[in-house]
Symmetry: D2
Subunit: 446 residues, 4 copies
């Protein structure tokens, strides 16, 4: 645990300083952390509000987890790594639950097998919500007495819970999409969008030569271990598309045989297309073979809005589209060096529970949609940066052990809690996965 604390403390260093500053205004020094803790915990519960006990329990596929499990697992994280270890006298709510709600921390012992999470009908959703209150109360009471390393663990738990908020949304979307009734999760009036004016895609030159990317230990605020160390990267002359690829453009790709021409695909991607009979993004549906496409979303089944960014596509699809378009995917360094000039808290991101969805790019004359709307597949494998060292202990399993076979995505999506993402943030998924809000921005050599 010492290692965990050390690492979290390190991550926390500068955010601490910021809060110290805040503290001046707020009199009570822990206010910043406490209020963010409270707000984060409340948002999770709000996201689950439209769900029945059954909705919150079912698991649509092994990659996804039940909403209830997300609510419980994030609570287990705080109970285990903060309260159990650092709040004297705290008594674990139910010791048998650790087995159920540990995700993948080998150091914390064996776990309930992931593909069977949907069979845990007990404890119920309301028992889990009650447990959350229990933990929240205890943590709020204990927080003022925590020293910096433990407060860093609390910060880590908040960031961790924000990640699970996004997963919770994408996992229930996946579940509801598996129900032939296609029920909406939130009702939302959705005016039909004006057709986008067919303007040619504009391109912006990125920086070239040596740039610095990655997160420095001295950077403000929170960051995960895998985002650093900060290091130099070498960029070749290139252009970045002004915005994400749209639904209209994706329909052109389909109409031009995008899913039936092997020469557009990586070998692994073509095998995936054939084995799974892929012919459109994950949630696109149509009533008859050549009818118009519709799309299923958190607010139910709707007509496609042509100008909105395409989402729920795999890396293989993103790569094939880019090849078809005579372009390529940006590298992580290209993306990050451009993204560093944008406000990571701007754009279409998650503020409150509801039917979030990607939106069409607006305005012009600049790179847009760098943050929010859709995670952008890059051409870069999720590998360690030079000099990367994962922390020892359980929390060292957070990122490093997944650095194999996955690709980096940048920029956050409409389901990413505002404030969670930044230019150095490294999201990662396997090239065939597409149940997240994943999209694509094109790049080209210059």
């Amino acid at each position: 645990m010492a290692a965990l604390i050390r690492w979290a403390a390190m991550a926390f260093r500068r955010s601490e300083a910021v809060e110290q500053a805040e503290a001046v205004e707020q009199v009570r020094p822990q206010a910043g952390l406490a209020s963010r803790y409270t707000a984060t915990r409340a948002l999770s519960v709000a996201l689950a509000a439209p769900l029945s006990d059954a909705d919150a329990t079912a698991q649509s596929m092994p990659d996804a987890s039940p909403a209830k499990w997300h609510l419980a697992h994030t609570t287990w994280f705080f109970e285990t790594f903060v309260l159990r270890d650092h709040a004297p006298g705290y008594c674990v709510h139910d010791p048998r639950w650790a087995h159920l709600f540990n995700s993948y921390y080998e150091a914390e012992g064996p776990r309930h097998p992931r593909p069977h999470r949907g069979l845990l009908t007990r404890p119920s959703l309301s028992e889990i919500v009650e447990w959350r209150s229990f933990v929240d109360y205890a943590l709020t009471v204990a927080l003022p007495a925590f020293d910096a390393p433990v407060r860093a663990l609390v910060e880590l738990g908040i960031q961790h819970e924000q990640q699970h908020q996004e997963l919770l949304l994408t996992d229930i979307l996946n579940l509801f999409a598996a129900n032939p009734l296609l029920p909406p999760i939130w009702d939302a009036a959705r005016a039909s969008a004006p057709a986008p004016s067919p303007q040619p895609l504009r391109w912006f030159a990125g920086r070239e030569g040596l740039v610095e990317i990655g997160r420095d230990q001295s950077d403000q605020g929170f960051g995960f271990d895998c985002e650093g160390p900060r290091h130099a990267a070498l960029l070749t002359p290139h252009l970045l598309a002004e915005r994400l690829v749209t639904n209209a453009e994706w329909q052109d790709f389909i109409a031009d045989g995008g899913y039936v021409r092997p020469q557009l695909w990586l070998s692994d991607g073509w095998a995936w297309v054939q084995a799974n009979a892929i012919d459109a993004p994950l949630y696109w549906r149509r009533a008859e073979p050549r009818g118009p496409w519709r799309s299923f979303a958190l607010d139910g089944l709707h007509s496609l809005r042509d100008g909105d960014p395409v989402t729920h596509i795999s890396y293989y699809e993103a790569d094939a589209f880019a090849r078809w378009a005579g372009a390529r995917l940006p590298t992580e360094a290209e993306w990050e060096s451009a993204g560093a000039n944008h406000d990571p808290a701007a754009g279409n991101q998650l503020d409150a529970a509801g039917a979030v969805r990607p939106l069409a790019a607006e305005g012009d004359g600049a790179l847009r949609q760098m943050f929010g709307d859709a995670w952008e597949w890059t051409a870069s494998a999720y590998h360690p940066y030079p000099g990367f060292r994962p922390a020892a202990g359980a929390v060292g399993e957070y990122n490093g052990k997944f650095m194999s076979g996955q690709m980096v995505l940048k920029g956050g999506s409409c389901a990413t809690p505002r404030g969670h993402v930044r230019a150095s943030y490294r999201n990662f998924f396997y090239p065939h996965q597409r149940w997240q809000f994943t999209g694509v921005r094109l790049a080209r050599d210059r």
Copy 2:
């Protein structure tokens, strides 16, 4: 549909006569049918009473169905084959639900894939219960006007629902057994049983030579098509064990290497044992490798009661046990010719919702446990009787198309609704399946 009516009418013929007799006493001729309808429908809901929405929605394995699905499917059966087709003006509650709750009737169109029944979190349990009320009201109102063929369909629906009551119980048992918390479904005080006195198993000679088995069209009461035609069968000299094999005897089998000696097993059975690391009946558990066995049941985890019949064993296990014991399984004809002398409504069967379980045989001097406690594996394949003809139409898919690869079981279990079973009843499962209350009675050549 005409074919369905004709067949159901045929099945109903004699039960009609009986009810006509009842009718004399009860003034209103439909009383018998109506009251059984009401009681059956009420029992299903009572069985689901301890279940949360999530409990009722989850599906533990493709062989099992969610409790909610059972409640809905049986309702679909009445709504489709009775109300839609025979109640003028009846308006189907939600036409989209047929797709969800049709089980395997190819003639009724495509269905939601069986392994994904657990993803149907909507409609909710309470919506299904409401639908049940809707259908029950409509059917009760319409019933007096139905002529005999349609009343026969109602009878068929009752029998069908009774089958699903047993499945509902065994499916939720399977679900709760998959939860590491092993929650009880019903609480029950269970006094520890006295150790059974070790008496040698007694054997009773069965009939030999030509006997008649199977159900005659002129038999009283309801019967499924596959139970007939009545026909002669030839019995060789044989003995039947007085009672079912017990938990004590099964522990002897294990202790004697029952699960590790290939020579005791059919070739397919041995492959099954090895592929699934089988070493005990389905719900037996022990905390450490050589510790005492416990058993999970509807009322939670308990010590084994040595004198109770062993249940939740596959045909392969039953067959291996018999070989180990120097005996064999009875044939269907042997069993039925003996069973015909016993009251099918006697014994330990399902009367009301609660933690039913098999009980130790009591008394002596006679064949016992022929009905109730556990379905008894026979040595007979589930094949058509001479002259069997399934009905045309959707209901013709009820039994005939499953006559391949499965084995016959006789006698009903503690989870079979009282009144549902009879000597000619032919239950059937694949040889590896064991999540029903399945047990074994030995037989021997004489």
Copy 3:
């Protein structure tokens, strides 16, 4: 081994008597057995003559074995159960080979996994043939000194080898069918057949009431344990078709939607059709979707001969065809009681190495094709006869342990060595298997 000997001796009892009679003519009492041994062993090698080392080594699927493996396994059988155990001073050729060429005798120790038999490129085909000579010489020298029980083992080995001769033929047919070049194994001139005259199928009444079937211990000649005991069976009034179903009739079945109408199929069969995209017998091919069917056989790809019996169909297909035809499959007892009046050595069976194939029925006025041409699927599960006891010891694994999940086939095929089959013979395969020369004769209730 004592048990094996006892059992083989029992099987041999009467064939002994016959050979004693032969012996009068032939002076040397063992002549009958020795000459049959020699002829059988020679036929196996002749069957493999057109095969290259590679042809004899490849394994087309786990159900099949390489030709070389058949040649070796049958030799292992003689070397192990006869020479090793009963020929003093005999030294096993290569002790490591037992591991490679034991098939499924658990009592003889672990084996090379069946699906990997095709990887045994060493020992080579010529080394195996050399080993065969070595064993043949030793056995021929030792034979005169063997007493009856050991000679019974030799007889068993001959019968065993005859079974493998048929498998060798069907396995190499399966292998060659997997080669896009579709090479013939033997060249054969095949004149085009005259179109069969379209006569209505005639039916013959079978016996009814009590009949005796199964093999008696006192019967002449060899028999497998599973063929007995002889016992009474009860036949209902029925008709048997005069001949096997033809290719012409099967094309009618296809044209009438035989493979696309679920109501014609058992539930398991329909699942098999869909999972494997089955639309014709195993070796039927056509160049374009609606073009004429051709068939691949031991002599290569040929036009279908309409009057020839259809072969290479599964039980599921045979059953669906019968349902389509308004008929059913005969039971084993119906078939055997009719077959008992026919000469089992008559008909189209294997006499010498070459491109054997089923032939059109000739003549009329009688049941034809009862023996030879194609194994006939029956409606009977392969279960033990009343009173059946497998022998103890390794050879007890020969038949009994397979009595689960398989169906009985009767009558032998064009690939069955003449003299090997008889009315009581019980062949058995799983309902989906169809790489043997399997066909169908219809039956009907009378």
Copy 4:
């Protein structure tokens, strides 16, 4: 085809110049190419010399191909892309064979499914060898008349065949290892090696800062498209181990729980270890649980030689070993910038048919084993270099479409034909694959 020629011509540009120089001495200008063609083709046949027809036909797993298939596929390459397209009047030997021996060129039409290559017992090994002679004769006759672009295709075919020579060796090793008899492919006297003196591993500093890697179009000799363009890369301060990890060191890793401690492994790697029960390099064997390890090689089963480099390990194993050793894998750029100073034709590489194997490092005071002995796993994904463009046409499928999910290996092995490898060479395999001669050199941050 034009595109293919253009690309090959480009690749050939400089090697041409070299041969022009040679030509002065040899009078006949094509001598260089012709003699290398002849030598390469002869080596392939020599590698297959110890193989029987069966050995050359069997396929041990879908990743591997039969030796005969390698001999045929390389011939198909010359026949199709050179003779068919550029030798007027050339008549394809057997047009049906293209379907059998095309590997993965979608543009050349459908192919025989890869997992079933082992079922192609026909054409035979000798027919393939005869075809080779036929093609060799035709190509040798036609060669003098070919212009540069076509000669570039011949060069490409030679390089392609060299790749298949290495695969042929590793594939037959895999096949022979699947035979319980563990037959040697070549006999070889192998003196037992002196125990290596236990010296501490020495490390050498690599270059740092900006370096150039990748192949330039103006480089001498042949190169594959994926090796370029030449581009700048940025190296951080690092050390490279003087030599490959040895068998002795790997045994230390095992003894220290290398295969049972999840914290040493990538998440995907740990799942692979558990699913496949991995506990040692691919061909290590031991007779009893704690006995000494032996290793199977082209010359059969031998004691481990402690000082030899470990081979036949996966990327997951290499990565876990490095983590255990407190080191890491080198990046491709680190390796290449060091390798550029070494003679690529030096070291232990394939010169002639025989039991090649990795050898212990000799000498000291320098980086050793950079070329030959074992392919070295790097930490770099096999992704395109900046500005990479695959050629259009069939040959464009050679490399580019595999740039997903695989890792780069550098340096060649004892089975790589001498002259085939160079510093810019990029070999690639999936992280779980290990049937090649794969090893590991450690790196460290400085």
